[in-house]
Symmetry: C2
Subunit: 218 residues, 2 copies
């Protein structure tokens, strides 16, 4: 997803390569401007191809390109959550957050535009893509916690923390990336422990979890 | 905002009364269906008036009516935050949450539709209305905390908690309003204290606050 070097026009790309090149160009444009400020001409220019070629790959025009770029970003975000199921739990969470925050840092305004909604091309379909990432994050966390049948209180706690992390990322971008990313990561991990501990007071499943899994990390 | 009893067609309403009657009807429809499933005919029928009359008040059609209904809901939400600045802090927060959760409970699916975005009529304008409510909530909290110049860490903590509360409300509606509303309210207050306490470890302003304001509540 790192924008590839401009491809000389004479090089023949396979259909897959071309498609992925166009998505890269679109994503790096969306990364610096809101979707409504990106035109298909901009994408064609950034990719060094003609506008008709962009249309050949994305006949649905900007909406289709935006959704494909969002889907590609969503896939990349999901990769951030991949973490081997070994070693203490909180360092695993820290490493996943490091990758996630690096993604936020790299995509910057594009991250806000992609995930914040409120774009003129926002539809229930794009919302579903973003919700899918949130759900995947929750499933990863519950699976690392070793919980296969989470009760409503534990589930709600995890989902609330994920939403809070998302809000923190958007605010962090708004605030010129203050506090420094390492502090933000540690702070988010500490908040995770704190909210789980609060839930543990009123939910036996979470209590057992906090004792078994988080206690072992101390 | 409680839907008024159907007004007999022969009663002459003032312009303001009629407008507010149409908004009430629209809001109670949006409260049970997503905006894209509500037509102007539905609003006219619910209000016991003709479709042309709805258009006379909202010549911009559904988009305008939706925005006006959203604005009216936003105003009502802001009223939830009004709380006298006296007595211990946490009970004040509990009372504001009680009113907020009563609003969520009453408007139900309409609350999701109004605040969740992802509607087909979502625009950056409607997002701005919802963001305005979030900002107002943050300002109320900071003012109750007696902070006139919040640093980035305190501000971020408060905004993250507000987002988490919003997420909790949507999940709560999804989960058939479980846990019971009183438990949810207490749990949210406890989370507020917990995340502030975590921030206090790395932010002197928040630390002083936790000691002065929250400590006094124990």
């Amino acid at each position: 997803m790192t924008p590839s070097a401009p491809t000389p026009a004479y090089r023949r790309l396979s259909v897959e390569e071309r498609r992925s090149q166009l998505l890269d160009s679109a994503l790096s444009l969306f990364a610096h401007r809101a979707p409504e400020e990106v035109s298909l001409d901009d994408v064609a220019e950034a990719a060094g191809v003609s506008r008709p070629l962009v249309y050949r790959y994305f006949p649905g025009g900007k909406q289709q390109l935006y959704e494909a770029a969002l889907r590609s970003a969503a896939d990349e975000l999901r990769l951030c959550f991949d973490e081997p199921r070994q070693g203490p739990l909180l360092p695993r969470l820290s490493r996943a957050l490091d990758r996630y925050l690096a993604f936020v840092d790299q995509h910057d305004a594009g991250f806000s535009a992609l995930l914040q909604g409120g774009s003129v091309v926002e539809t229930s379909r794009t919302t579903a893509i973003v919700d899918g990432v949130r759900r995947a994050a929750a499933e990863h966390i519950l699976s690392h916690l070793g919980v296969s049948d989470p009760g409503p209180r534990l589930r709600m706690t995890v989902r609330m923390w994920i939403t809070a992390v998302e809000a923190a990322s958007l605010i962090w971008l708004d605030e010129n990336k203050e506090p420094p990313v390492d502090e933000l990561r540690d702070w988010l991990v500490e908040q995770f422990v704190a909210v789980l501990t609060v839930t543990a007071r009123r939910d036996p499943q979470t209590e057992a979890l906090v004792r078994a899994v988080l206690g072992a990390d101390d």
